[in-house]
């Protein structure tokens, strides 16, 4: 069956914005993967200097201009996407399994398990996400990309517990769950084989939306100097470096800033499209 002719794609593409989002996301992912072959100056990623061309405004050679040691900002933005996307994927790869397992256990097992797990979740939800991530990075020794990933994951899992918990609670009274219980299916089987598939549409939608928001939070941390360290081309770090020299060399920070905006926008639009497609609320 051709997906592009299916009713799902019809529902998804009914809103042209979702398709725009899909195009944005696909383009960025392709650019990021093939960055070394596509970008005009791949050697500008590391500690490269070219003082003859420093602080050049946007031109046909350097479409986003160059930074104060002569590196092409466009090249660095594309490589920055590699870091951002990796961050998004790793954070969710840690946070989603933890959140989903906790949510399933709390929702299905109930009683004391539910009480304990949900109270723990509430406590983590009570600390604003960025503040929690910041404190964790502050307590770890030296900021780097790996710690950023850990810190953001720690702040992110409770949302998945909440989501899966709510779905599990509404699904567990269904007849087929009772049937599986009577057949003697194990708790594991019921949670992961009977209940989890019901959560997939919401889960997929939330993951897509969150990819954008995790990138946003990650770039916020590196904006504060608590993420990937120079000379790694990180979008948030680039914005922060440029912010101190406003307004003369505005291209230092505006282009990386807009690069963050575009990728978050892309994932957000696709996420909204998925919401309509699956008809879920996350």
């Amino acid at each position: 069956m051709n997906f592009f002719k299916s009713k799902y794609f019809y529902k998804f593409s009914r809103n042209p914005l979702s398709v725009v989002g899909l195009v944005i996301v696909t383009t960025i992912v392709i650019l990021a993967i093939f960055a070394p072959f596509i970008t005009p100056f791949p050697e500008h990623v590391g500690p490269f200097t070219d003082f003859a061309n420093k602080s050049k405004p946007p031109s046909s050679t350097y479409i986003f201009g160059t930074d104060k040691i002569g590196r092409d900002i466009f090249t660095r933005v594309i490589f920055g996407y590699r870091i951002s996307l990796t961050l998004g994927i790793v954070v969710l790869a840690i946070a989603v399994p933890i959140g989903v397992t906790m949510g399933l256990c709390a929702g299905y097992v109930g009683k004391k398990t539910e009480m304990i797990l949900m109270r723990i979740t509430d406590v983590f939800l009570a600390i604003p996400a960025l503040v929690l991530a910041l404190s964790i990075i502050g307590l770890l020794d030296r900021p780097n990309l790996f710690y950023t990933m850990i810190a953001v994951s720690m702040a992110w899992w409770p949302w998945y517990t909440r989501l899966i918990y709510n779905i599990t609670r509404s699904v567990k009274t269904e007849g087929y769950i009772a049937a599986a219980e009577i057949m003697g299916a194990s708790k594991m089987h019921i949670m992961f084989r009977e209940i989890l598939p019901n959560c997939l549409p919401s889960l997929l939608t939330k993951i897509t939306l969150d990819l954008g928001f995790v990138i946003l939070v990650g770039s916020s941390l590196s904006f504060l100097g608590l993420g990937a360290q120079p000379p790694t081309p990180d979008l948030g770090t680039m914005v922060a470096k440029g912010a101190s020299v406003l307004p003369d060399t505005w291209w230092f920070s505006l282009f990386p800033g807009f690069a963050i905006l575009i990728v978050v926008l892309g994932f957000n639009l696709v996420g909204d499209g998925l919401k309509d497609m699956f008809d879920v609320d996350v």
Binding site: V131, L134, L139, S220, G236, P247, W250, G257
Partner: protein, 338 residues
């Protein structure tokens, strides 16, 4: 369950959550690799000095006793000495917190005053030009990092059209009002000093807006959806059949139920805005808690970090309680649930 019981229960839950948060933050600070005493003293301290500090900080006791001591001191208002500012952390908080408090309240106000009307216009004139523009604004609000808003606002209103101030809380040339609450707007009004009041207000606009814009998008989006849902309800049809005026239907029958989910989400938006304050205060050189927080984090000041996290979380818990009470006023039925 009556209203009073609901209030008490809500306060009780908040206290429990507060203790949970204190446990989490305390555990994070103690279980993370690295000796806090060594970190506080730096790499050049002798082993004896470190051992002495371990003794004074009770680091050789078991973690449960340490937590007990931590809580006991917390309630005596003793949060330890900041290794970054060399002052008691409580003194730092008292001097920095009001600035953040004022800023975030301003953002909250902007969020409601801009977000709600934007959502209402959008929901009322669905699929018109107003709707599309409002939706575009809300979408951009949500997806733009607030530090980028800060930079854009700064470029536009401070450099290209220099009409608004962009750093600190007030003009240095003016005399600050006597310290009463620490909130410049309140203190200057108490003195009747309108010059300072106006100046402080102008200083609040840009950072307040930069913090609020992402939340404005959220509020507008939600209000739009809820309002159009309510307009499809039968009682609206009924009111229309009585030929009540549009205005009366909107204000009396539609807005109240439509605002409940928005008000509920405002609590979460505050969490979001408190996080954003960390980014925006840095850009606008705002002498607040969040800027202090970033500084202590960069300086590895353990007591400062713990205190910042606790204060911000407590502030958030209190706002959440207030939000819940407002929701209760809008929708008294919730006391009968669960």
């Amino acid at each position: 369950m009556n209203t009073l019981q609901y209030f008490l229960r809500r306060i009780f839950v908040s206290i429990i959550v507060f203790f949970g948060v204190s446990i989490v933050i305390f555990c994070l600070a103690r279980l993370i690799p690295g000796d806090p005493a060594r970190i506080a003293l730096g790499p050049f301290a002798t082993d004896e000095m470190v051992e002495q500090l371990r003794e004074t900080l009770h680091l050789n006791e078991s973690i449960f006793i340490q937590y007990g001591i931590f809580i006991e001191k917390l309630f005596q208002g003793d949060l330890g000495i900041s290794t970054y500012t060399k002052r008691p952390v409580l003194v730092d908080i008292v001097s920095y917190f009001p600035a953040t408090f004022e800023l975030v309240l301003m953002s909250g106000l902007l969020m409601i005053l801009i977000g709600m009307p934007l959502g209402i216009l959008s929901g009322k004139f669905k699929n018109s030009i107003i709707d599309n523009v409002a939706r575009l604004i809300s979408l951009l609000g949500v997806v733009t990092p607030s530090f980028l808003w800060a930079i854009i606002l700064m470029l536009i209103f401070a450099f290209w059209f220099p009409i608004l101030p962009v750093s600190e809380r007030m003009n240095e040339a003016l005399d600050p009002p006597t310290l009463v609450t620490g909130l410049l707007l309140v203190d200057s009004l108490l003195e009747g000093n309108f010059k300072v009041f106006g100046d402080a207000f102008l200083h609040l606009i840009l950072p307040g807006l930069a913090i609020a814009l992402p939340a404005i998008g959220n509020v507008a989006r939600l209000t739009r959806t809820n309002l159009s849902d309510v307009y499809e309800k039968q009682y609206i049809e009924f009111a229309k059949s009585y030929s009540f005026s549009e205005y009366r239907i909107a204000t009396k029958y539609a807005l109240k139920p439509a605002s409940i989910p928005t008000v509920t989400i405002i609590g979460l938006d505050f969490a979001f805005m408190l996080g954003n304050a960390f980014l925006v205060e840095t850009v606008f050189v705002w002498p607040g808690m969040a800027k202090y927080g970033v500084e202590v984090i960069l300086a590895k000041d353990l007591n400062g970090i713990i205190a910042t996290a606790l204060v911000i979380t407590t502030f958030f818990l209190i706002i959440n309680m207030i939000v819940d009470f407002v929701v209760l006023l809008l929708n008294p039925r919730i006391t009968t649930k669960d």
